[in-house]
Amino acid sequence: MQNRDTKPSPARPAHQIFVFGLLFVTWTILSGFFDPFHLTLGVISCGLVTIISADLLFEYRDTPILFRFRQAGRLIAYLFWLLWQVVLANYHILKLAMGSKDRVQPQFVRCKTSLKSDFEKYLLANSITLTPGTVTTKIMGDTFYIHAIDDVSAAGLEGEMERRIAHIFSTARKSSTSGES
């Protein structure tokens, strides 16, 4: 978000190699053929895609690539935590669907966030929607409008999820701003 106006620096070879590797691993898993003919086809098509769109994947290219791996590790840890939250919340909505109708009290709540970049907001909005009981209905700047189905779901919105997302990216934001200055 913060460097929307400035032109991003061009993709480095390391990024291109990483994108190519990612594409090629996906190709081999999806194709399942390991003979030279199919692998050559894979190399050609992955190379073409890399040339065309290697600079789409990374927004802040000054972040060292090793740091990206640490971020990816934290992101995966977060996803496992999120999965557990999804399980708990799904159980909650199951009880709600079977229980008495009086307990369903729909409401729109407002939630301010301190997260800055688009990807962080996307992750937060998606996480809120994934945990049953709450759906992000509108995002206006840094205000989220969330439809919650009952009080318990609305109370669960505060704090923890946002703090964890900020933890995944926080140091990255610092290092990317210092890299640009």
């Binding site: 898993i29 999804v86 909505i93 669907a97 079977m98 729909p106 929607t129 759906v135």
Partner: protein, 123 residues
């Protein structure tokens, strides 16, 4: 045998959550609450069902050198559930937002806030 039982349990659990989602669609009061049930009762349940399929694939897994294609099948199955986890919330959000833009009236619980309505003049 154990693998078959584990996968059956996982698939059955998924079906139970699917049932909860279907029940929610019928019983919840308005469009927005129903979208809750429809849009994401299926995230966990489809994940459980797909996990059940993946575990069932392990049944024929005896030696790595001969049976490695099964691992590819499992990876593909897990990729399917990953894509569901990425796209399902987005489509739910799009549906909700479209409903609000179309002025579908929400049913708000008694004494509960409707901040979206309060702030809608500011947009």
């Amino acid at each position: 045998m154990i693998i078959t039982i584990i996968s059956a349990i996982l698939i059955l659990l998924g079906v139970v959550f699917f049932f909860g989602a279907a029940l929610g669609i019928v019983r919840f009061p308005d469009f927005y609450s129903r979208t809750h049930a429809a849009g994401k009762g299926d995230t966990l349940s489809s994940f459980l069902v797909i996990l059940g399929f993946a575990v069932y694939q392990l049944k024929d897994f005896h030696s790595f050198s001969h049976d490695w294609p099964i691992l590819l099948v499992i990876l593909k199955l897990l990729a399917v559930s990953l894509f569901i986890f990425m796209t399902s919330p987005v489509s739910t959000h799009a549906l909700m937002d479209a409903g609000w833009e179309d002025k579908v009236k929400p049913e708000i619980g008694e004494g509960k806030p409707n901040h979206l309505n309060d702030d809608s003049e500011k947009f």
